[in-house]
């Protein structure tokens, strides 16, 4: 039975505010005055100063305002809290008892503020008078402690009444209960001791009293914290911090709650019965919510209350206290009742983790009201899966200045989100972006000068075209990305025992020739001698785990790198973060295996032989008993057909992410997640196919768009990048990759690597390379501590995006690492001999490295380094400082 307590929130606010001021004012001269004395003093507060005998310092205006602000803040927060807690309490279900007990019980949250304030201030004042027990604060302290102890006892009593109303339970409650009681007891003991001290003034007694008082104060923090958790929810306090613990398994599941994705409003308004398709969608959306929020305790692993929510019959069967769903009537369904109880209620669900969002609750209600449809043979798993088929949505009309199809899609997105287009970035910023993105090098000052002088309206399109035509530079730069993705490297595990093959030459030539992506993938899947390294995987000597056979590696790597999905879990057991099953993974791996594979579950043979099939059977069938060569040829054909939207969405998304810092879907390895614009992604994928699988054409389209040329986004919290809440307004600021940084230093200062370090030479001989290049590009050398520290991965596993964060080892490499410092020393040498005046030198350093003149202040600072002469060491230090500026380190 529900009832509302006839009590006005206003009444409570008045009481609360009165109490606060009572507490503060009754303790004059130590209440307000204490605050003010601390706040207004011109020095840091010391214990001495708080003694009222000292003169109170008169405030400056700012400090007075600050003090007022503190008092106002106390009031406002108290009022806000009162309103909140009143509303929460009003929703609580009451059992039938004399209302008076309950009423008193409900005064507990209000009453606890007495001991909190009194005892804490008492303790603070005690702390302030540690040196002298009989200070002028003493009478105040006595009042604080006595009143505090008394009110603590009362608060505990009322708390007990509230608890016995039966609405509370759980670990947090028990912790609050007993820390509260303990604190009250401690408070009482402290008060008793203080009273005794009046009669027996000994040092020992004072020590014990103080100790207990401080313990009490700590107890108040702990009890108060748990009390707060009860009222506001477990993670209320730390939930806003970046370190908030998250339900890591569920939070990471692809897609997030699908109530976000389903246009369920249309269901709510549809007065007629639902179509079969609608029913299926609704069912999946509801089950997804159950999976995310309930499976943790109510599925095959753990069935609390004998309830399982992961299978149709079991969902309708209910738990030990009966059915939880009454199809057609959400209001009467136990499940809905439980998930709508206020947090802290002992029957509230979910018992663990975050409460359901309003939207999710609405969707579950809708689902039940609609008869809880659960179509037989609903084959779709509960985890969101992106559609496989390609889709070409109709392009929105061009508007003024926005003719590039990407801009037209982004415009539609911006309109929906209420985002305004910003003016495109200036020439210098654009040029730096485009150079690094297409050829991996910084523009030289001459490049910039030339570009700025160009007045043709289409000069940006032209420079993109020109850069894309630099085939070798393009291939050299993009080889880094593809090496990471195809886990290809010049050195690494496996080579030592001939268990690994390098595809560098094939890759470089494919990129330089801009091989259509379809053919590129076909050559990877049905390889020739020069491209077989990707499928062959890495073989170490000795026996290996059955989920790491080279056939299974191929299945995993093809899935991750080319299809943006994770088959790693499913290669050991049915996945619990996706719908992929062990059978699926083995059937796919079987394509790459000469001998038929036996299915192993967690490395234990099951006796069952694996099927041979694609992950999506609608793409076609693979011959079961054919040779690997034949199966590979079939695979290459089937996987690259235009109908496989997945393959092409994955690659356009990867290219987008390389250029924009974040994919349209993120992370790029989880293509089942929701894109921020499905239309844009789908359209781009189809465009890519229609344009002949032309990656350069795709890059051209993206980089000549206004969307690419918007000001870059700063991200404060890296968690936001892959979050569903990400809102696109332009590219993310990006740190130079290890290779870009090394090449930028080589370009602007001095070659980082000698010709002897070239590990792969596309030109054949050293001389030919040197004729075509002024220095050795970092993407063509072996991984070393410098590149590793700056983020080049060991290519033992697929890496699709590198880490953007810096760390100590990296900074050490930049600060005292041999390679960078020696390079800078060599550069400094030629600079120092060339420039005799420091003024000239500084200007030249800024122009060469940052492609601009130093500001007056920068010039002045740099000038401070030099005396009358230009010393090599000073030049080296200036070069070092400039290349470590964010302006050089980042692509803005």
């Amino acid at each position: 039975m529900y009832y509302r307590v006839p009590r006005s929130t206003w009444y409570r606010i008045v009481v609360r505010v009165f109490l606060i001021n009572f507490v503060l004012l009754t303790n004059l001269p130590c209440g307000y005055k204490l605050f003010f004395a601390v706040l207004m003093s011109n020095n840091r507060p010391t214990f001495e100063m708080i003694k009222i005998s000292k003169p109170v310092y008169y405030p400056s205006v700012i400090k007075a305002l600050l003090a007022v602000a503190v008092v106002v803040f106390i009031h406002v927060s108290a009022i806000a809290e009162t309103i909140q807690s009143t509303e929460a309490e009003q929703a609580i279900v009451a059992t039938e008892r004399w209302w008076g007990w309950e009423f008193l019980g409900r005064l507990h949250p209000l009453l606890v503020h007495f001991p909190v304030t009194l005892l804490l201030i008492g303790a603070v004042m005690e702390l302030a008078t540690l040196r002298k027990f009989q200070s002028q604060l003493r009478p105040g302290i006595r009042w604080m402690v006595f009143l505090g102890a008394a009110s603590a006892a009362l608060a505990v009593l009322f708390g007990w009444l509230l608890a016995s109303s039966g609405n509370y339970g759980g670990d947090t409650f028990v912790l609050h209960q007993w820390t509260g009681v303990a604190t009250a007891v401690l408070g009482a003991v402290a008060a008793l001791l203080l009273w005794l001290i009046r009669y027996r003034h000994t040092y020992g007694l004072i020590l014990v009293y103080r100790g207990i008082l401080f313990l009490t104060a700590m107890g108040i923090f702990v009890a108060g914290h748990y009390g707060g958790s009860l009222t506001h929810g477990q993670d209320y306090l730390i939930g806003v911090t970046p370190w908030a613990p998250q339900d890591e398994q569920l939070a990471e599941i692809a897609g997030g709650p699908t109530s976000m994705n389903l246009d369920w409003v249309s269901f709510a308004s549809a007065s007629d019965s639902l179509s079969a398709e609608q029913e299926a969608d609704l069912n999946i959306a509801a089950r997804t919510i159950l999976a995310h929020h309930c499976y943790q305790c109510h599925s095959s692993d753990k069935s609390e209350g004998k309830l399982r929510l992961d299978q149709k019959e079991l969902v309708f069967k209910g738990g030990e206290s009966g059915p939880v769903i009454e199809p057609g009537n959400a209001q009467k369904s136990e499940l809905i009742r439980r998930i709508t109880l206020p947090a802290g209620h002992k029957e509230a669900m979910p018992g663990k983790g975050k409460p359901l969002q309003e939207r999710d609750i609405e969707l579950l209600k809708l689902w039940i009201d609609r008869g809880a449809p659960w179509p037989e043979g609903a084959s779709q798993g509960v985890f969101k899966e992106a559609k496989l088929a390609p889709r070409k949505p109709e392009l929105p009309a061009a508007t003024t200045g926005l003719s590039n199809p990407i801009d037209r899609w982004v415009n539609a997105y911006f309109e929906k989100k209420g985002i305004k287009w910003q003016p495109i970035v200036d020439d210098r910023t654009f040029l730096r972006r485009i150079f690094f993105d297409i050829v991996g090098l910084p523009p030289t000052p001459e490049d910039l000068q030339q570009f700025s002088a160009d007045t043709r309206p289409d000069k940006r399109d032209r420079i993109v075209e020109a850069l894309l035509a630099r085939n070798d530079d393009y291939a050299t730069h993009w080889t880094t990305f593809w090496n990471d993705l195809l886990r290809n490297d010049y050195t690494g595990t496996g080579y030592i025992t001939n268990g690994r093959f390098n595809i560098s030459d094939w890759l470089y030539r494919s990129l330089a020739a801009n091989t259509p992506y379809k053919q590129f993938v076909m050559e990877l899947l049905d390889p020739n001698e020069s491209s077989k390294g990707f499928i062959k995987g890495i073989e170490w000597r000795g026996a290996i785990n059955s989920s790491q056979t080279t056939a299974m590696q191929a299945a995993q790597n093809v899935s991750q790198a080319l299809l943006g999905l994770n088959l790693k879990c499913a290669s050991c057991h049915d996945s619990f973060v996706s719908n992929w099953k062990l059978d699926d993974a083995y059937a796919f791996a079987n394509i790459f295996s000469e001998k038929p594979l036996e299915i192993n579950r967690c490395d234990i043979p099951t006796g069952k032989m694996a099927d041979t099939r694609l992950l999506w059977q609608e793409l076609g069938n693979i011959s079961k008993d054919a040779t690997v060569k034949q199966k590979s040829a079939e695979l290459a054909e089937l996987l690259t057909q235009p109908d496989n939207g997945r393959l092409y969405r994955t690659v356009v998304n990867r290219i987008w992410a390389q250029l924009m810092g974040r994919g349209i879907v993120a992370p790029t390895d989880e293509m089942d997640r929701e894109p921020w614009s499905a239309d844009l992604l789908d359209w781009l994928a189809v465009y890519f196919v229609e344009e002949g699988y032309d990656i350069k054409q795709l890059i051209y389209l993206i980089t000549t768009s206004n969307s690419y040329q918007q000001p870059s986004m700063s991200i404060e919290n890296p968690d936001m990048i892959n979050s569903m809440e990400f809102v696109f307004t332009g590219m993310l600021k990006r740190k130079l990759t290890a290779e870009q940084f090394a090449d930028a230093v080589s370009t602007a200062i001095h070659p980082v690597y000698p010709i002897s370090s070239l590990k792969y030479n596309p030109y054949g001989g050293a001389e030919q390379y040197q004729r075509a290049n002024t220095f050795v590009r970092a993407s063509l050398v072996q991984n070393d501590p410098f590149l590793t520290a700056l983020g080049r991965p060991s290519r033992e596993n697929v890496t699709s995006v590198r880490d953007g964060q810096s760390n100590l080892l990296q900074a050490m490499e930049l600060t005292n690492g041999e390679l960078l410092n020696e390079t800078l020393a060599k550069g400094a040498n030629s600079w120092a001999t060339h420039y005799k005046s420091s003024d000239e030198l500084i200007r030249s350093v800024y122009r060469q490295i940052l492609a601009r003149d130093p500001t007056d202040k920068e010039h002045q600072v740099a000038q401070g380094l030099f005396g009358d002469t230009v010393e090599e060491a000073q030049v080296q230090d200036l070069l070092w400082a400039v290349v470590l500026l964010p302006e050089f380190q980042f692509i803005d």
């Binding site: 000795g542 390895d669 990048i721 600021k733 041999e818």
Partner: protein, 472 residues
């Protein structure tokens, strides 16, 4: 593999929050106190016997058969005499006299059983020992030092949390070594700070070669001032820039900190230096001691793996094992004594371990014999054939001292006749790792979520520490 690590890694252990407890949420702090077992160690020193140290010729001697022409290989179990240790009834092999006097200070494990990984490749077993996972793996598995660095952070903020001393990455099989000398998916932030040669260890933590401290200071000042002047507003709030700036400051702090002196072995009194100086490994032990005193978290000192060198005795095993013992005996003993004297041993777990053992005739393990890699004649006529030249995985010795480990205790037993395999209390790498985590108070279920799935410090997080190793 990762966009940004943090998004993928939500480390489960609540104790991560402990680091933030200062001024941070009380609940996190309390939870961490509750979830963690009380730590008995703050620092771990791993003394790595790279290449496979034969148990019967070191810490688990069997019947001694001296060399003579015409010796039957099958008869040879140990090629050294046994010597008494400080522990009654427990013997070491000759050449370990210094360590023998300290056997009452720690625990000797005689029943370590290495994994069966088929045709043996040292680096695979070493990978397994250090990461607790058999290579290859679908994701880059972190080194135990990286897990510890990630969970506990540095003990002293200016001493890197994971320091690796003595391994050059230019040797054969280096690529395989690199595969586990890494923080893997935890991110390079937690990776090893490599000091390949301890005698030039200071180079790693001082201003670049040829740069005076005053110049270093000036350079840093210039950088900070230019940073202030540069059009930085545009970057002000970006997390990447923020972490870049922070790490630069941290590096500057380390390079100019007085603690960096710990890396400078020239600072050590000559007398002490000479005791340690049996070679690179000995100096590594000295550096480990100096770093421990300054607050290091995890240090690995290796005899250095290089195929067919060091403990990897494919021939002339007897002579080379004698030399190896000369290399390790004095410095390990001195390290333990020094740490004991300064009181650090109480909170420092020192481990002496190797990837597997060796035998004269048995390759792999009984029952799962694998392709052997050394021709061992039935009858020995040349001293170069006298020694433990084949790889043996079924009974290896390991030592643990300090950090809450039992004193004067022997765990497990191997057979006294060939095959000298484990016959009592077999212990595997998962339990060893869990025991180390136990000593450090790290949750046995600690894991990271990588690519959406949980990855535990030990496979599936189901293994337990061996509590018998602790106490007293």
């Amino acid at each position: 593999m990762q966009y940004n690590r943090r998004n993928f890694l939500k480390t489960a252990s609540a104790s991560t929050l402990a680091a933030l407890a200062a001024g941070a949420p009380l609940s996190g702090f309390l939870a961490s106190c509750g979830a963690k077992s009380a730590a008995t160690a703050d620092t771990v020193i791993l003394l790595w016997m790279a290449g496979g140290m034969a148990h019967t010729d070191t810490f688990d001697p069997k019947r001694y058969t001296p060399f003579e022409k015409g010796l039957d290989s099958q008869r040879v179990l140990s090629t050294f005499k046994a010597i008494p240790t400080a522990l009654d009834g427990i013997q070491f092999s000759e050449g370990l006299e210094n360590m023998a006097t300290l056997m009452d200070k720690g625990t000797l494990i005689r029943s370590y059983v290495a994994a069966d990984l088929g045709h043996i490749l040292h680096s695979r077993h070493q990978y397994h020992w250090h990461t607790c996972y058999e290579p290859p793996q679908t994701v880059a598995a972190p080194h135990i030092g990286a897990w510890i660095a990630q969970e506990l952070g540095p003990k002293n903020p200016v001493i890197p949390a994971f320091i690796d001393i003595g391994q050059r990455m230019t040797v054969g099989e280096a690529e395989e070594l690199k595969a586990f000398h890494t923080a893997g998916f935890l991110g390079s932030e937690f990776g090893p700070f490599m000091i390949p040669d301890p005698s030039s260890g200071l180079d790693a933590v001082k201003p670049p070669a040829g740069m005076s401290f005053s110049r270093f200071e000036r350079r840093n000042q210039l950088y900070t001032e230019l940073l202030d002047q540069s059009p930085i507003g545009e970057y002000a709030s970006d997390y990447q820039k923020e972490s870049f700036r922070r790490s630069m400051e941290q590096s500057y702090r380390l390079l100019k900190s007085p603690e960096a002196k710990a890396f400078d072995l020239n600072d050590e009194p000559k007398e002490s230096y000479d005791i340690y100086n049996t070679g690179k490994f000995g100096l590594g032990c000295l550096m480990a001691r100096r770093l421990t005193e300054q607050g290091a978290r995890f240090i690995s000192v290796t005899t250095e793996y290089e195929p067919f060198m060091g403990w990897d005795t494919h021939e002339n095993g007897h002579v080379r094992t004698r030399d190896m013992k000369k290399l390790i005996d004095a410095p390990i003993a001195q390290l333990l004594k020094d740490l004991d004297r300064s009181g650090h041993l109480d909170r420092t777990l020192v481990i002496v371990a190797s990837e597997f053992s060796r035998d004269m005739v048995m390759e792999g393990r009984p029952g799962a014999e694998v392709l052997h890699q050394v021709e061992q004649p039935d009858v020995i006529n040349d001293i170069k054939n006298y020694g433990m030249h084949r790889h043996f995985t079924d009974g290896c010795s390991m030592l643990m001292f300090g950090g809450g480990i039992k004193k004067g205790f022997v765990f497990g037993k191997t057979a006294d006749e060939r095959p000298c395999k484990t016959i009592e209390k077999p212990i595997r790498i998962e339990q060893i790792h869990q025991s180390i985590y136990h000593a450090l108070g790290i949750d046995p279920q600690k894991h990271a979520v990588v690519e959406g799935r949980p990855f535990y410090t030990t496979p599936d997080g189901v293994h337990k520490a061996e509590l018998e190793l602790f106490g007293g």
